[in-house]
Subunit: 261 residues, 2 copies
C-alpha cells in the first residue's frame, strides 16, 4: 500500500468548501471523482483542513492510500486532465506509510486579502473583501502583534463542537502589508480554530474603525468569550497559503523540502 | 446637453464582448441597462473599442450624452450599485460637447498575460493563457522590437470588413516581462486592427517555439498577408490596459490628467 501526499490549489468561489456535503459541490467530491477516474478505485482522501464555502486555497494538502503503481508525475498530469479548471494539482509525492495530511500537519499560513480602493475591482469580486474606507497599516500591525505567541483563542472561534479540548494555539506570524490596491493580512500558527482567521480579521477591522483599541486585545483573549471579539469577516478574502509538515512545506509553488528545524 | 466620459473595468469572462448582440450578454447591454435605471433615459453609449468575447478591460472608456444634472461622483456610485460585480465604474467626468470615446481616442495599451508554469493556476483559468513550455524572454523581446514604429499590420489582423483604408499603425511600446509565474506582453499603439494583439502574441509564441525567426518578422509585415503570421492567441489572456486622450489617460486607477504631448 502506498501513501501519497498531494498539493492542490482551488478557487473557492466554485465550491461549497472542501468537505463532501449533500446537495453541494465540494472540492473533496470533485477531487475524489477525478481520483476514481484515474486510479479506478475510490480511496478516502484526507484534507489538511476543512475550508469553508468560498474560501480559497493557493495550497491545500491531501493524503490518500492506494495499491496502484502509477508514477507521481503521471498521476498529477492525469488528475489535472480530469479536474475542472477551478482545481489544480500542484504536486504529488510519496509519503511515509500512514501519513495523514491533517494529523501530521505542523502548521499553516493563511492570507486575508482586502481590496482597499473606492471603486470595486471586478477581477477580485469573489477573491477579496472590498473595504473602501482608508486603513491605517500602523494601527492594524499594532493589533496584529497582540496575537503573536501562544494564547487561548476561544474568543476568536465559532464553537460548533468541532474544536474540543485545548483551544490554545501558537501564532508565529501575524502582520499586515499593502500591495497595490490591496491590504493583506498574513497569519501562521500551529493550528487554527473554526473561523479563527476570519474573526481575527473582523476584529482588527473593528480596531481600524476605532471600535476597539489594539491594547484591549489581550483582555479580549483572556476573556475566552466570542462576544467580546469583532465580527467574522466574509470568506472570499481568505486563502490557505502554506502548509507545513516535518521537513516539508507546501505553497503555490508546490512542495519544498525544508531542513528539519 | 452634457457629454460624459466614463471609465469602466470588467471581467471579460462574464460577457460576450462589449458590443450589443442578440442572445448574448454584452458589457454594453449590461451597462446601458444600469444607465437607464439611474438616469431614467437610455443614451447611446459609445465604447472606445470593440473588445471580443472573453477579453478583459482593466480600463475601458465610454462616452454618452445626457440632459440629467446628476453630479459625476453620484452617477458613479449609483451605476456601481446597479451593475453586477463583474463590471465597475472607475471614474466619471465631464467631456467637451460631442466628445466620442472611440473617435477621440489617441491610443491604447494592451497587456497579454501568459501563465507560464507547468501546473495550471485555478485563479487564472479565464484570465490568462496557460503555456507550460519554457519561454525565452530575450528571444520574445527580440521579436517584440520588430513591431515598434509605423507599419502596415495587414498580416496581423483578421479582415472582416471592420478595418478599411489605411491599415498602418504606429506601435510605441512592444515588450515582454516576467512577473512571478506570469510572462506578460505590453503593446501600445495609436490604434489596433481587429485581433491584432492576439495575432502579434500568437506569432511571437511561434518564434518562441522556433517556428520562425524574429528576423523574419519585417518580411512578414511587408507581405501584408495574414497567412504569413502565426495563429490568433486565445482571448482570455488579453486585457485593455490604458486608453489615451488629449491631455488625459485612463488606467485601472481611473483618469489621470496628462500634460499635452
Amino acid at each position: 500500500m502506498r501513501t501519497l501526499l498531494l498539493a492542490l490549489a482551488y478557487d473557492g468561489a466554485c465550491f461549497h468548501g472542501w468537505q463532501v456535503q449533500r446537495n453541494a459541490v465540494s472540492v473533496q467530491q470533485t477531487f475524489q471523482d477525478a481520483v476514481e477516474r484515474v486510479l479506478g478505485e475510490r480511496p478516502d482522501c484526507k484534507g489538511c483542513s476543512r475550508t469553508d464555502s468560498g474560501v480559497h486555497a493557493r495550497c491545500f494538502c491531501v493524503s490518500l492510500r492506494t495499491q496502484r503503481q502509477i508514477p507521481c508525475e503521471r498521476l498529477q498530469a492525469a488528475l489535472n486532465h480530469f479536474l475542472p479548471e477551478s482545481v489544480s494539482v500542484l504536486g504529488v509525492r510519496e509519503a511515509p506509510e500512514g501519513f495523514h495530511a491533517r494529523y501530521d500537519c505542523l502548521g499553516k499560513e493563511y492570507e486575508y486579502v482586502i481590496w482597499n480602493e473606492r471603486a470595486r475591482n471586478p477581477f477580485l469580486a469573489s477573491r477579496a473583501l472590498h473595504y473602501y474606507y482608508s486603513l491605517d497599516l500602523g494601527l492594524l500591525n499594532e493589533a496584529a502583534a497582540q496575537f503573536l505567541g501562544t494564547h487561548d483563542f476561544s474568543s476568536f472561534c465559532t464553537l460548533d463542537g468541532r474544536d474540543r479540548g485545548d483551544l490554545s494555539r501558537a501564532v508565529t506570524r501575524s502582520s499586515w502589508r499593502r500591495e497595490g490596491g490591496c491590504v493583506i493580512y498574513t497569519v501562521a500558527a500551529d493550528g487554527f480554530l473554526y473561523n479563527m482567521v476570519r474573526i481575527l480579521v473582523g476584529t482588527q477591522l473593528y480596531a481600524a474603525q476605532g471600535k476597539l483599541l489594539p491594547a484591549e486585545l489581550p483582555d479580549i483573549l483572556l476573556a475566552r468569550d466570542r462576544s467580546r471579539a469583532g465580527p467574522t469577516a466574509p470568506p472570499q478574502g481568505l486563502y490557505l497559503n502554506r502548509v507545513f509538515y516535518r521537513g516539508l512545506s507546501c505553497s503555490a509553488e508546490g512542495f519544498q523540502e525544508e531542513s528539519d528545524e
